[in-house]
Amino acid sequence: MKARILVVDDDEALAEMIGIVLRNDGFEPVFCADGGQAIEVFRSSKPDLVLLDLMLPGTDGIEVCRQIRSESDVPIVMLTAKSDTSDVVRGLESGADDYVPKPFKPAELVARVRARLRPGDQKAPETLRIADITIDVAGHLVSRGDERISLTPLEFDLLVALARKPWQVFTRELLLEQVWGYRHAADTRLVNVHVQRLRSKIERDPEAPEVVLTVRGVGYKAGS
């Protein structure tokens, strides 16, 4: 079955072009040109991934991102013209999993989309533990005791990557490669922002983390 991708972009030409490229690569694009209607289109089309332009008329991309994230864990990839500004961080903090800076190549876009969709992510039954957190990898479940913790697929992947090798300290670059699928060095802010988001969900006190520990000057590792 074709993965359905919602493209939220007010630039019709770009949206159409993205559509052509996605279709060419075997995806099914759905379009929305207005930020105000994005959430309704999202609900009706139930996409597998959202491509979201940050600068939109009406409701802006950040707000759309927050709305979608509030009701779904579906991967969100931002399209941004200003990769150097705080917009990227704000977008990531509002729930986006990844971003593609304009102008991007079709291959780049498709690679990011594929990395988030992870087709054939068949996981063997496996249970991991970090600190007092239990992770059911196959069932995509995270819990502390009887309490279920809801994570987005990206946050789940991040946690699993750390939990599988609790003895290893992961540099940000390594995490970018393993979790985001970047082959080359990319923006390490992605890692920082998502670790913060992950901590805010799984830590008892995000200020004093026990599950995801910071190793100063190197990166992150799983708590014992």
Binding site: A13, M17, A81, K102, A107
Partner: protein
């Protein structure tokens, strides 16, 4: 023979004094007993040494040289003692005194008000001293003159009275004579309880004529003839019937009082007597003292007041000036909204108003410039961003067409290729433009971290390997130190080095590109040397300019934006480093990047020479080593071994470069020149 006997009244000395008391008794109708001459000299005996005054020298004047000597000796002793005291005091309190002197000096230098007040005080003290001395002198003189005139006329009158009494006396017996003489003389003393004048009556010595043997001498109180200065006596004795005067001192009770002695002769029964009348100057002296006290007090008060006035006036003038200084310093520090307080309509107010006017127009212009510059930078940034969305579409479309080009006919196929390549170039141009606009806007931030620059260079060479292969150029790395950790923004340094290496490959004409890394205590340097077409010194000077191209006619094959080296320059500046170029037409060029090892450090000299040591060598193709090392260490070893010759040269060059970063002309041809950025300062 007539020595000037006139007595100059000395206001300070004990001599000039007179009691105006004498004027009261009314015993002084001017009776010129003495010759007419005496009358006119009596008017100004002080001013004119008239012959009638002979050597009746004032006691004070006689003693003056002696007194001066004594006082001088005393003053000397006191001065020496004071000097010793001051010196020991200075030693003991030296730091304090030095501090005091220093702070006074500082205030003198720095405070206009202090200087003005002090100068005013000193000037008014000296002018007051002059005026005071003059006044005091004048008053003393007048007092003395007045008293002298009075004394002379009174004496004349009294001497005449005495002479008349003596002439008309019909007494022959001793007691009558004595009584007559004593009564007559006592009458001279004046009526009333206060003695108006004292007398000394003495027979002239060595009289040959038969004389009155009953009366030899007589004087008021306990006076003796010794109070009369010998000079005065001599003058009286030598003259006929003239009258003379001199200053003297005479005892009253236990004290010595200043006075004027006026002498003349009287005859009794054929015997010539000297009659001296002595007038007390004590009261005049007291008056003078009082006047002087008043002058002192008045002067002190006046000086205090002048000081206060000077302080007040200068404060009024200076305080707006120092206010202006404070405000202009604040303005200079960038607080453009600072203004002076303007009060009234005087010169200071005008100054304040025009100062404020200046500040306002400055502020306006600066704000306008800042706004313009901000607008311009914002515009560039916005344009770059706005262009990105359509560019993305175009780029994607171009790539779709490019991917499908094999299905097109030759014309369309080529068009698709051109479109794709140019869109790529357009994209990189846009990216560079945006980067430059970030530098211009001052928003570029340094994200420095300690990184091994040798490893970074190896990465860059790895990345450039496909391009090198395309051009057929070899790349060598000469890094004798193996690893140099530098505090730097790896992303920016990577960009600089990639740019330099790609440039060298592009202009290297297939000849090898030599990359060297070396460090000293403060800095690390990377040079990228090519042996291609090179460039002239003039070109080397312009190579960092924006959009500048060495040869406009040359094909822009690698699609550089023309901003690469400008961005590299900005990146270098951000690190406080140097980026310099050397070039020689036909020989090649050399780019040198020098960075401080620690951020905030300064570079004293670059570890590598800008002008390459092998500049005169030819046949570069001989030592071509393509370094595609999988590990940096391996790459380095390969470079180090294969390029021993070059390495040595580089090392030699390093030594030779000590202290001489200046340009060295190869073979005196004058064909090389360094173009530096960041080294200007």
């Amino acid at each position: 023979m007539v020595s000037a006997i006139k007595q100059v009244p000395d206001p300070q000395g004990p001599n000039p004094s007179d009691a105006p008391v004498d004027s009261a008794p009314g015993a002084h109708p001017p009776h010129p007993v003495t010759p007419a001459k005496a009358a006119d000299t009596s008017h100004k005996p002080g001013a004119h040494p008239v012959p009638e005054h002979t050597d009746a020298f004032g006691a004070g004047l006689a003693r003056l040289p002696f007194q001066i000597r004594i006082w001088r000796r005393r003053a000397l002793i006191v001065a020496v003692r004071v000097g010793r005291l001051v010196r020991t005091g200075l030693d003991r309190f030296f730091p304090g005194i030095r501090y005091l002197l220093h702070s006074l000096q500082r205030r003198w230098r720095r405070s206009l008000q202090f200087r003005t007040v002090l100068t005013t005080l000193l000037l008014s003290i000296s002018s007051f001293a002059i005026v005071g001395a003059y006044l005091s002198n004048q008053i003393a003189n007048n007092l003395f003159q007045e008293r002298l005139t009075q004394a002379e006329s009174e004496t004349r009158y009294n001497v005449k009275q005495v002479q008349d009494t003596f002439d008309g006396a019909q007494v022959t017996d001793q007691s009558s004579v004595i009584t007559l003489v004593y009564d007559t003389l006592n009458a001279v003393e004046g009526r009333g309880s206060v003695i108006q004048r004292r007398y000394v009556f003495e027979a002239m010595p060595e009289q040959t004529k038969p004389r009155n043997r009953w009366v030899e001498s007589r004087a008021s109180d306990q006076l003796t003839v010794s109070v009369i200065p010998p000079e005065l006596r001599a003058a009286v004795q030598d003259s006929g019937k003239e009258q003379f005067w001199a200053s003297t001192e005479f005892p009253v009770g236990t004290e010595d009082r200043p006075g004027i002695a006026v002498g003349n002769k009287v005859t009794f029964n054929g015997t010539v007597y000297e009659l001296y009348l002595i007038y007390d100057l004590n009261t005049a002296q007291q008056t003078l003292d009082e006047i002087q006290n008043v002058l002192w007090a008045g002067g002190a008060a006046l000086i205090l007041m002048i000081g206060g006035i000077a302080w007040y006036v200068t404060r009024n003038v200076v305080s707006p000036v120092s206010h202006a200084a404070v405000v202009s310093e604040k303005l200079a520090a960038g607080q453009l909204q600072e203004r002076m307080v303007v009060k009234g309509e005087d010169e200071m107010a005008r100054l304040g108003a025009s100062f404020n006017h200046m500040a306002a127009s400055l502020q306006e212009q600066i704000t306008q410039l800042a706004t313009l510059s901000q607008m311009q930078q914002r515009f560039v940034s916005d344009v770059s961003h706005e262009l990105r969305t359509p560019l993305t579409t175009v780029r994607m479309a171009a790539e779709v067409l490019f991917d499908a080009r094999h299905d097109f006919d030759p014309i369309n196929k080529r068009s698709a290729e051109l479109l794709y390549n140019q869109v790529e170039r357009f994209q990189s141009l846009l990216a560079d433009l945006l980067e430059i606009s970030r530098f211009d806007a001052g928003v570029a931030m340094l994200d420095a971290e300690a990184t091994d620059i040798v490893q970074l260079v190896s990465h860059v060479m790895e990345g450039a390997a496909p391009v090198a292969e395309e051009y057929g150029s070899g790349m060598t790395l000469n890094a004798p130190e193996g690893s140099v950790v530098v505090e730097m923004d790896a992303r920016r340094i990577d960009r600089i080095l990639r740019n330099l290496v790609l440039n060298a490959l592009e202009h290297g004409e297939g000849r090898p590109v030599n990359i060297s890394v070396a460090s000293n205590e403060t800095a690390v340097a990377v040079t990228v040397r090519d042996h291609g077409i090179g460039m002239s010194p003039a070109e080397a000077a312009r190579v960092f300019d924006r959009f500048w191209r060495a040869d406009p006619a040359r094909a822009r094959t690698t699609g550089g934006s023309g901003l690469g080296l400008s961005i590299a320059t900005e990146d270098t500046k951000l690190h406080n480093g140097w980026l310099q170029a050397w070039g020689n037409t036909g020989v090649g060029s050399n780019f040198r990047l020098t960075l401080p090892l620690k951020q905030g450090g300064t570079i004293t000299k670059s570890p590598l020479q800008l002008e390459p040591a092998d500049v005169s060598l030819h046949g570069h193709g001989d030592h071509t080593v393509l370094v595609l090392g999988s590990t940096p260490a391996g790459a380095m070893d390969a470079a180090g071994e294969a390029e021993a010759a070059v390495g040595t040269e580089a090392a030699v060059g390093t030594d030779a470069a000590v202290g001489t970063d200046a340009v060295r002309l190869p073979g005196g041809a004058g064909a090389s020149k360094a173009a530096g950025t960041g080294e200007r300062s």
